[in-house]
């Protein structure tokens, strides 16, 4: 059991601490992407790492295919690359390298070649975001066999999930959230054990309804749950954290007790992970006491103006209303 340390830090600093630990303990770890080296990242997340680790942390051209391909090729030859795609939306210019390449290496070679890459990115709508800097794309990645996907939202998870991803022998996409990077400081445990991937976390225990959520939207879901507690509705809020593999066992165990389900996410509901969870619950045969509900963004592009964006991204009120409707039906 490694010695544990408690430290007060921001979400961005927690990511930085995880990267530092990986670089320190595993000589095969390298870290690269646009502006991650000398500048320390456009959000300051990789600050100081180039100075500390030299050329193991370096800047790349604005070339997402080269970044991801470079990660895959180096991983096939013993490195543990951590690549950064600055905005999740930028993945789309190089989706081939993830979907056709990284995901295929282990399968086609029957494990003779592997591509244990970690790709960090961030997503979500925030003030001043625009159409190509605000999408929630986790469902797109989660659809691909061979790819692991997680979305840390707490400071502790920003540290823990990233390490689990780096230690994982499969390609993993870690989707952070830029609104959380510098929002607050929290005390977190560093230097603890590296956890296995795929476990969810109960953020609020409850008995009346199971709310499954992930990413930063869970804070709105938790706020809604606290409001509802005053009205006598006791919601259990589960942070799925890992979108693939999804911890459906934990969700099903919770639903067996509550008999009700709401899925809350920032992504579009159409073709999304929420649909996957509702389907899995229905397929499980567990009798629900009310129709399940999904709360997410409708099928619309994410607009630039804050008033327009707010009109489509789920709010605390909208989440609370959906939960109330489910519980009272």
């Amino acid at each position: 059991m490694p010695e544990q340390t408690l430290k007060k830090m921001s979400y961005a600093e927690a990511v930085n601490a995880a990267l530092r630990r990986a670089l320190e303990t595993r000589p095969e770890v390298i870290l690269f992407g646009e502006d991650v080296g000398v500048p320390g990242g456009v959000f300051g997340v990789t600050k100081g790492l180039h100075n500390r680790f030299g050329d193991r942390v370096f800047d790349t051209p604005i070339s997402e295919s080269a970044i991801l391909g470079g990660a895959i090729g180096s991983a096939m030859f013993g490195m543990r690359p951590i690549a950064e795609i600055m905005w999740a939306d930028f993945f789309l210019v190089a989706l081939d390298q993830i979907v056709n390449q990284a995901a295929n290496v282990r399968y086609v070679s029957r494990g003779e070649a592997t591509a244990p890459i970690t790709v960090r990115t961030q997503q979500g709508s925030g003030p001043g975001a625009c159409a190509q800097h605000s999408q929630s794309l986790e469902a797109l990645f989660a659809h691909i066999p061979g790819i692991r996907v997680c979305m840390p939202a707490t400071h502790q998870d920003a540290y823990d999930l990233l390490l689990s991803a780096i230690w994982c022998d499969d390609p993993v996409i870690v989707i952070e959230n830029r609104n959380l990077y510098h929002a607050s400081k929290r005390e977190i445990v560093i230097d603890g054990n590296v956890e296995p991937i795929g476990r969810s976390a109960v953020r609020r225990p409850g008995t009346d309804i199971t709310v499954v959520t992930w990413g930063s939207m869970q804070f709105q879901a938790l706020e809604a749950a606290e409001h509802l507690a005053e009205d006598g509705i006791d919601a259990e809020v589960i942070d799925a954290r890992w979108i693939r593999p999804l911890d459906m066992d934990a969700v099903l165990r919770s639903i067996e007790r509550t008999g009700r389900l709401a899925v809350v996410h920032e992504a579009h509901t159409i073709g999304g992970v929420g649909a996957e969870i509702v389907s899995a619950v229905v397929e499980s045969g567990i009798a629900l006491r009310a129709a399940p509900v999904r709360v997410g963004t409708p099928a619309v592009r994410i607009p630039a103006a804050p008033t327009l964006a707010e009109a489509v991204i789920p709010s605390v009120t909208e989440i609370a209303d959906a939960i109330v409707k489910t519980c009272r039906s």
Partner: protein, 323 residues
């Protein structure tokens, strides 16, 4: 003395043997495809064998590694993978190189330095750059060779890979097999400057056009590029001129070829040409006939053996998705 200097002339026989083996396997595959034993889209490389034989003779496999495209049976065989493993793979047998997961277009043999065919023709270039990137950390002396056709040079990933490799001086060789056709469309109708090697200068690396039907010339060029890469001087772009003596895929009627084009190509194809060179030296026609017959026999035996093997096992289909 460079590490991979071209071997002496006696190795021409070795190059000849490799080229005949590739052609023979390709002919066998064409036969099996027509018979319906091999199914799906198959892209043969007949006519381009000198590139594979020459390049692999210059590399130190499997420390050095190659990343070809779907027209990659020749690369796989030149890396040393036995014809039996390739044929069994195309036949969907559990004894195949990849147990039936790869098929014609995704043959993967890392133990031989053959890091996987690719249907996305430019996608191997950044991955090869990654393999080279690893070499800058692990001290292995590895050189990665990304091979692709003339059409692939118009893919964005190739541009990104060449720039990335050049700026980091990565030990990569970008080898264009210019057979003049991007699938069914002539390269001349999709680029303004048909001298593709000239793109190298845009990335600040050397570029050269060579005769891709001369295995020794290919061997020399690749050996020079590999030595340079290993010295830390960065990547090179080699444009090897060649011709397909087959269609883009088995069944391609090649209506796009000009009258007489194939006759000219066949007159210059590399196996007949090397045979004439060897005969002009000390090797007799009888010796060369004997090599050819022995290889045809070896390949026919391998095909028969593979055909008799059990089909790929559906019980294993979900294995190896994850660690």
């Amino acid at each position: 003395m460079p590490e991979n200097s071209p071997r002496d002339a006696s190795d021409l026989v070795e190059l000849f043997t490799t080229m005949v083996r590739i052609r023979s396997v390709e002919n066998e595959i064409a036969r099996l495809r027509s018979a319906g034993d091999v199914v799906g889209s198959v892209h043969l490389c007949s006519g381009q064998e000198a590139i594979y034989a020459g390049a692999c003779a210059a590399l130190n496999l499997p420390r050095d590694v190659v990343f070809p495209t779907y027209r990659g049976h020749g690369w796989t065989l030149a890396c040393g993978v036995p014809p039996y493993a390739v044929l069994a793979e195309l036949l969907g047998r559990r004894t195949g190189l990849n147990g039936g997961r790869g098929g014609s277009a995704y043959l993967t043999a890392p133990r031989w330095g053959m890091c996987g065919e690719n249907s996305i023709v430019g996608a191997g270039a950044p991955i090869a750059a990654g393999a080279a990137l690893a070499a800058t950390f692990d001290g292995s002396g590895r050189v990665a060779l990304a091979a692709f056709g003339d059409g692939a040079l118009n893919q964005g990933a190739v541009h990104e890979a060449m720039n990335f490799a050049a700026v980091r001086a990565l030990p990569v060789i970008f080898l264009v097999e210019n057979n003049h056709w991007s699938e069914l469309t002539p390269i001349t109708s999709t680029v303004r400057d048909e001298k593709l090697f000239r793109r190298a200068s845009a990335y600040g690396m050397p570029g050269a056009r060579i005769d891709g039907n001369d295995p020794q010339g290919v061997q020399r060029a690749v050996a020079r590029a590999a030595d340079r890469a290993r010295d830390g001087s960065g990547p090179v772009l080699i444009e090897a001129m060649t011709d397909r003596i087959v269609g883009h895929y088995i069944g391609d009627v090649q209506h796009y070829r000009a009258p007489g084009e194939m006759e000219t190509i066949l007159a210059a194809e590399p196996i007949g040409r090397l045979r004439r060179v060897l005969e002009a030296q000390d090797t007799t026609a009888a010796e060369l006939d004997s090599i050819e017959q022995s290889i045809h026999h070896e390949v026919a035996e391998a095909a028969a053996h593979a055909l008799a093997d059990p089909l790929a096992d559906p019980a294993t289909v979900l294995e190896h998705v994850h660690a």
